[in-house]
Symmetry: C2
Subunit: 134 residues, 2 copies
DNA sequence: TTAAAAGAAGACTTAATTGGTCTTTTAGGG
DNA sequence: CCCTAAAAGACCAATTAAGTCTTCTTTTAA
């Protein structure tokens, strides 16, 4: 259970690679895709998502490509994962809304809240800088 | 991401209910299904899985039903979840086998190992006894 | 003005999830 | 010995999600 999808895995690979490149130099999607061994068409959509929320900045046209939207020490693994996989939800009932009418009396509910917290904390403590080895 | 499926949720509900019942008294599947609001046919399959690995014991025929395979303080939430959802796998590469040829050099790999550890530890520390409020 | 590059939309295939139905086996009770 | 209650097991079907590829549009430096 709890498995990251390929999308999430590819997203991380791609942006970690981008973080490992010179920060002032745009990077071709095709280069990234090749380097991290991901289908380029799939990675394109992922980077579009990144771009929309400002995790990367894109330049179109000749000489275009991608750079990070912020410095690599300001982007956490949690952000990257949530950008493409959505929030960390170990079970429906932790979304806040009244997803389960049993949640008041439920003894299991607090467990999922704790799982969510722990995982978020862990991922939030790791930046692209560390992951890119710089 | 990481969402428990309905199967997992139902499994927990069902066995926690069973743990809340008198330990020496067999419990009808129909009763459990009704009490925890789960489709009986679906719950049947879940309890068959439980039965195979000894988490519950089943009795067929008239007067049949289910009881816990062990006392409720000896069954952890981790066992229940893994019984129906499979092992806790935040990413392919933590299965032990050479699932990803990048894993040696990969800086992200250790993160998933830690996530796996933390979640397993947490779930392993919770027993059906606590969850059934006894 | 043209070729390179990202953006956007969507078609398509495959696999997993969430059930349902029907038959078979087992066990008690009269 | 037969009837009935109950779980076990074998299929099956709808829905949803994942994963990949295609095609077209827009932007922009040279
Ligand atoms: S854990 Fe409890 S509150 Fe959460 S979905 Fe299950 S029953 Fe509802
Ligand atoms: S995290 Fe690293 S080792 Fe794990 S699958 Fe991704 S690239 Fe491979």
């Amino acid at each position: 259970m709890m498995e990251l999808t390929r999308k999430g895995e590819y997203a991380i690979r791609g942006i970690v690679y981008l973080a490992s490149r010179p920060a002032d130099q745009v990077c071709l999607l095709s280069e990234i895709a090749k380097a991290v061994d991901v289908p380029q068409t799939f990675l394109a959509k992922i980077f579009q998502q990144f771009s929309k929320i400002g995790l990367v900045r894109s330049y179109r046209g000749t000489g275009g490509g991608f750079i990070l939207g912020r410095t690599s020490d300001k982007i956490t693994l949690l952000e990257v994962v949530e950008a493409v996989e959505g929030p960390i939800i170990p079970n429906r009932c932790v979304t806040g809304a009244g997803e389960c009418d049993r949640s008041n009396a439920c003894t299991v509910h607090p467990v999922w809240l704790k799982v969510q917290d722990q995982v978020r904390d862990l991922l939030n403590g790791i930046t692209l800088k560390e992951l890119s080895g710089q």
